[in-house]
Amino acid sequence: MSIIQVENLVKSYTTYKRGSGFGDSVKSFFKREKVDVHAVKDISFEIEEGCICGILGPNGAGKSTTIKMLCGALYPTAGKIDVMGYSPAKDRVKYVKRIGAVFGQKSQLIWDIPPIDSFAMNQAIYDIPDDIYEKRLKEMVELFDIEEVIHKPTRVLSLGERMKCEFVMAMLHKPEIVFLDEPTIGLDVIAKTKIREFISEMNRQGTTFILTTHDLEDVEQLAHRVIIINHGEKVFDNTLESLKSTLGNKKIITLTLAEPYKGETLGGVEVIRGDNAHKVSLEIDLDKQGIKEFLDNLSETVSFLDISIKELPMDMIITRIYNEA
């Protein structure tokens, strides 16, 4: 059953151009030049209940505008959004009670006091009964292992500790959908892992997550579904597996050569990258030739000391999709 339905979503707005020199400043003081921005052009998708959906796209692609509309913070210019039967912007107050949001770069905790006090404030705002609040808090605090952290002033916490508290803050009221915007930005590996585990656990308990990020590891480890937005349009929408095979069945082969590389084709395949004179990478399309066939061909034509065969890395796939659009 789909929990989010988006049909022909459009968002455009007008801003004003600003000049720089003295002449411009005088001119624009009186008359400003209008610029129309079409942030989201025509996007439709549905998201199933209980899944983790990654929304990807380069900077300025229209991702965060889409998220803001899904959260109810922005009205769409045209199109329809239906989340759990609500129209987010119209039914905002009722709607936001059932969702949560974590913005990696916009803290919702109060800077000078311990997170526990911010939590208590949220309890009042979301009207959470005491017993449920206690239970929920205990559960999440244990999951994150932050019993002590929540009693220290927020300003002395490390970024990782703070992000964990942001998650607790956003999920105390047991939201059915949680929007995450760059939740792991700037975190170290351990904190990232911890947060990903938390998201997976909450997802197992039934929470739907919508995740925007530039960290592809987040996507690879968490997302079931991936939607890619570029220039305000949806350019990809399918499962993570199909994203991986979207460019065909390809492998990256890295060779360490016995002789310096001189620019020839190797085993009939173009070299895509040369790290140094002896180390080069090739990309082969398995739909065109089998791996055995290729290796036979290769070992006949070149002598190499080492070889590794890998999947096409995620960033390469994403880069190509971004560039294609």
Binding site: G72, A73, L74, Y75, V96, I110, I113, P153
Partner: protein
């Protein structure tokens, strides 16, 4: 009921927040207090040089100005954060964190950002008002009653101003000087209204009723209030309503309803 409980929790939070920087808090309060004492200095100097505001003695003028301090002190404690917080959110592009709360954005910002430090401004105003009133005398219990009534009306004017300023900051992004505009206009409420020409008086009573911030309530205490002043409670209430309407309108615009 829910709002009241929430406001109490938020106040407690605000206090613990202020106490997190004790030294700063004390220092800040001291400075506010000092500037409070120094603001009527001009009046004192004028009288010390043998001049007067015609028809008013020094303590009467000081009473007007201390009531003004009380009003603005109270307003900056509970209201002025609306301006700064809105401004910061708009500039930082984080206003949606406010919209994500299942509660009126206006109430949320007001409740979660009480400026405890301004209590010293209010307290300073009270002390000065008491001292001045000791010299001028108070015209009976009824005078205190009508003072309170008019004081509340003055507070509504300040409320309206703060809301209009915050509303402006949606459009005039990042302009931290917006409050200066209203500070300058409020100046007309710091002095006996009689020194201004007719046009200014009409403005200060009917359009943006700044006379209600200091002058009218103090006049009530002194027993020299023109009964017509009660009528200008109406524009005060209207002014506040306008502020609320404008602020909410701006939120709608921010969400992109019309634009």
């Amino acid at each position: 009921m829910k709002h009241l409980k929430l406001y109490r929790i938020c106040l407690r939070t605000a206090f613990s927040q202020a106490l997190a920087y004790r030294a700063d808090f004390v220092m800040g309060s001291l400075i506010t207090l000092l500037s409070n004492i120094l603001f009527p200095l001009v009046t004192v100097l004028i009288y010390a040089n043998g001049a007067t505001f015609p028809g008013w003695n020094m303590w009467e003028v000081l009473l007007v100005q201390s009531v003004y301090s009380m009003s603005t002190g109270l307003a900056s404690m509970v209201l002025s954060s609306i301006v700064w917080v809105t401004m910061d959110h708009i500039r930082g592009g984080s206003f949606e964190t406010v919209l994500l709360k299942p509660i009126s954005p206006l109430f949320f910002i007001m409740a979660t950002n009480c400026d405890v430090q301004s209590i010293s401004l209010f307290a300073g105003g009270v002390v000065m008002a008491v001292i001045s009133a000791c010299h001028t005398g108070v015209a009976g219990i009824g005078a205190i009653g009508s003072f309170l009534l008019l004081f509340v009306a003055g507070f509504m004017v300040l409320c309206g101003m703060d809301l209009i300023m915050a509303a402006i900051s949606f459009k005039w992004v990042g302009n931290s000087r917006i409050p200066e505009i209203f500070d300058s206009i409020s100046n007309f409420g710091k002095y006996p209204l009689s020194i201004f020409p007719q046009a200014v008086r009409v403005f200060a009573v009917m359009v943006i009723p700044v006379a209600m911030i200091g002058f009218f309530p103090a006049s009530a205490l002194l027993g020299r209030l023109d009964p017509k002043a009660y009528l200008s409670i109406i524009p005060c209430a209207l002014f506040m309503c306008f502020g609320i309407w404008l602020y909410n309108k701006m939120i709608l615009l921010y969400e992109g309803v019309g634009g």
